[in-house]
Amino acid sequence: MTSPRVVITGVGAISPLGLTAQDLWDGLINGRSGIGHITAFDPAGFACQLAGQVPEYKLRNHIPKSSRKAAKLMSRDIQLCVIAANEALRHAEFNTPGMENDNPITLNPTRTAVILGAGLISCDLEELAPAVAASLKNGQFDLQQWGLEGIQHVTPLWLLKYLPNMLACHISLIHDIQGPSNTITCAEASGHLAVIEATQIIQRGCADAALCGGTEAKVNPIVLARQSLINRATSQSNHAPDQACRPFDTNATGSVFGEGAGLLVLESLDKAQTRQAPILAEIVGFGQSNCLNTPYENLEADGMGVQIALSKAIEKAGLSPDQIDLIIPHGTGVPRDDTAENAALSAIFGDSLGKIPVLPTKSMLSNTGTAAGALDLITAVKVIQEARIPAAINCTDKAPNCHLAICSEQLEKPIRHVLSCSYSYGGQTTAVILKTPLGKTQ
């Protein structure tokens, strides 16, 4: 049984470090933090007043004229996804109807899949507030008033802005993509899971190409309140945003949340070669499992679920640990989870672990939820392409018992394989291994 080999031929990223994948890379290589004080709303009453926010953009510049009407239905999650998808498809040198030119369409609608990780899209509270205000009786919210009066103040198509699958819907519409379509909602593991599923769809012959990855806009009061309530957000670093998120550091006090989208174009090697597409990296291994822990929002102390995902990925890739040249961990800055992830990596890599550079990215990117794993895979692609590993920031005093060789300075070296780890609060765990494309190194 031989499955087709699956390669990455395009990437698109919008993140706190900028509006493109190149901005992401430039930010990482320069050790820049995209974390700052929240400007999307006044966070004065919030324990954590920091977030990774995407710089200002004009949606109009990223969507075709024909989509301007549909843009009214694009929540911020959808906007970010649409922008990154546009970049990824162009990077892969695909021409679609959404690009509004006279060149022949080169993306086959029915042989292309869209598999995205998306979050629980939280509604725009300011949009809903007038409806709630119209539902008061004696100063209190009243459900009967809500039914009689309040709901009339909500725009009729309200729900369609917040269904997680609407990200895929808009992208399918803009670029005319009619093949397999799925939306994976496993919190921070979703980006990886979408890439894994897209890989499998190509391997089983149901598509020639897939647009996959993850998007989430977590800079929303209710999302950030939720992360504070479950003790994942730092509350002690409001004075020093760029030092706030400290994966694997002794002084870590929690994660900082943010927004972004990471999209990748996958293709069967065969089809990519036929159309002479740029081949950026190959997906050679992936693994999935679960942590079984209560409370659900934390990993088990030994990171068993992460261990299983790692070992399955390495087994599938047919590699020995010493063939991995870089590990991008999930590394959130939540001390308990970082300790567990360290335990899992230690169990799988043993003595080799101290020799493999480790690059946590959330110190610079923030925790972008369902986008996180996809942005890390895009980082891996860039590392392979540039043969350079950025230096980590904010891990100046490594946590006790942390065995990871956190990159303290930038490294230049040929990269054979990069392993990226991801997990969700809730327990889903993943690992993905990328390999340098044919003809490079090896």
Binding site: L120, P130, I151, L157, S172, P221, K312, Q428
Partner: protein, 439 residues
């Protein structure tokens, strides 16, 4: 992978928590007899909403299904329902639950979970209170400090966590000790059919031996009903809730929102035979497509639905002539039932009228993300009993809908191959094909 090498995937266990029963047999008998699960809404005061009724899961008691509810009692409604459904399915498939030392010979790293599951409800009282207090109607601005004071003071951490749509899958993993591939998807009303199809694909790929596949959802809450009401997607037949869900009828006026969960144990044939468990049916085909048409509407010529049907038939290597019955999405909305009829005609051509098509939503309501898996269970039961469940409340046929919808009474038929269809907002189309198992 060449077709000849596709692993065979079978169903070995099922469980359901639905508005018409908290076990398979009760729900199935209700589908056959037409006993409705629809009634005035009690979960919240919906007495002034455009739609004042729904298909609720009533009298649910998790402790009837599992020994120790501690790890699941904080779960949202969908999570608790799917834990109960999974417990039933595992019992039937002889899979141990609630133990760290299972003796069922299934390697837990090869036992996975794939759900089509929805988000949990917001913490309504606090959610609305915080908004009401923080909104300044004169300046039309939010006072976020006030909002934060209410939110941080009154929201409960577990309730916030349990809103995340991955949590039902987390609870299923916790119940069963599953350490294999685990995903959860949310493609609107097509989600759990997609979950079944993708779980089948994971088994075929060799990454797992057993998958727990299914769905869980409850949107019967003030924001969910408001959202669907504003879209005018729900029936407003408040004077007659029990007959409001009337798929394919000329007087249909929208779907009836329901809630529930369904779980199926999917397994490689090899694993099922090795374990010596009873095989209930075989999954032979799966197709998934996107309409890529409009945000608000299904494709007007059913392009995506037709493509999904064709993809599933091709995957199954089955001729359309061999299909004995189609379990329709049949939501009772004007649009879905018309477009779905077009899709069946588009695939089956002039003979479409000779293939029975029915929707069980007339009795069960629409379980949203959980609908597809719950309806696949009805397909397995149809195979078992050689009986097609009827489309209830179909007394005034829509003159332009001219398929055989099996109205109002169950029908005996020799059933071997059944199609299950699910479609979702945003143009999601998923189809799976079920076949009577033959060794």
């Amino acid at each position: 992978m060449s077709d000849t090498q596709k692993k065979r995937i079978v169903i070995t266990g099922m469980g359901i928590v639905s508005p018409i029963g908290h076990d398979i047999e009760t729900a199935w008998q209700a589908m056959l007899s037409g006993k409705s699960g629809v009634a005035p809404t009690t979960i919240f005061d919906a007495s002034t909403m455009p739609t004042q009724f729904s298909a609720e899961v009533k009298n649910f008691d998790l402790s009837r299904f599992i020994q120790n509810t501690d790890k699941h009692a904080q779960g949202n409604r969908g999570s608790q329902f799917v834990v109960a459904a999974t417990a039933q399915a595992c019992k039937q498939a002889k899979i141990d639950t609630e133990t760290t030392t299972p003796t069922d010979s299934i390697d837990r790293t090869r036992l996975g979970v794939y759900l089509g599951a929805g988000e949990g409800s917001v913490d309504n009282d606090v959610f609305f209170k915080a908004l009401a207090q923080a909104w300044n109607p004169e300046e039309r601005t939010m006072d976020w400090a006030t909002w934060a004071k209410v939110a941080f003071g009154q929201m409960t951490p577990s309730h916030e966590l349990e809103q995340e749509p991955n949590m039902p899958a987390s609870h299923v993993a916790m119940l069963t000790g599953a350490r294999g591939p685990t995903r959860s998807c949310l493609t609107a009303c097509a989600a759990s059919t997609q979950a079944v199809g993708e779980a089948m694909s994971i088994l075929r790929s060799g990454d797992a031996d057993v998958m727990i596949a299914g769905g869980a959802h409850s949107m019967i809450h003030p924001l969910g009903v408001m959202g669907f009401n504003r879209l005018t997607a729900l029936s407003t037949r408040n004077e007659s809730p029990e007959t409001a869900s009337r798929p394919f009828s000329g007087s249909r006026d929208g779907f009836v929102i329901g809630e529930g969960a369904a779980a199926l144990i999917l397994e490689t044939l090899e694993s099922a035979q090795k374990r010596g468990v009873t095989i209930l049916g075989e999954l032979v085909g799966y197709g998934s497509t996107a309409d890529a048409f409009r945000v608000t509407d299904m494709h007007d010529e059913a392009r995506g639905a037709i493509a999904a049907l064709q993809a599933a038939l091709q995957d199954a290597k089955i001729d359309k002539e061999d299909i004995d019955y189609i379990n329709a999405h049949g939501t009772s909305t004007l649009e879905n039932d018309s477009i779905e009829t077009l899709a069946v005609k588009g695939v089956f051509g002039p003979d479409a009228g000779s293939t029975p098509v029915s929707s069980v939503k007339g009795t069960m309501g629409h379980l949203i993300g959980a609908a597809g898996a719950a309806e696949l269970i009805s397909c397995v039961m149809a195979l078992r009993d050689n009986t097609i469940p009827p489309t209830m409340n179909l007394h005034d046929p829509d003159p332009i809908l001219d398929l055989d919808y099996v109205p109002n009474a169950p029908r005996q038929a020799d059933l071997n191959i059944i199609i299950n269809e699910s479609f979702g907002f945003g143009g999601q189309n998923n189809v799976v094909i079920l076949k009577r198992f033959e060794a």
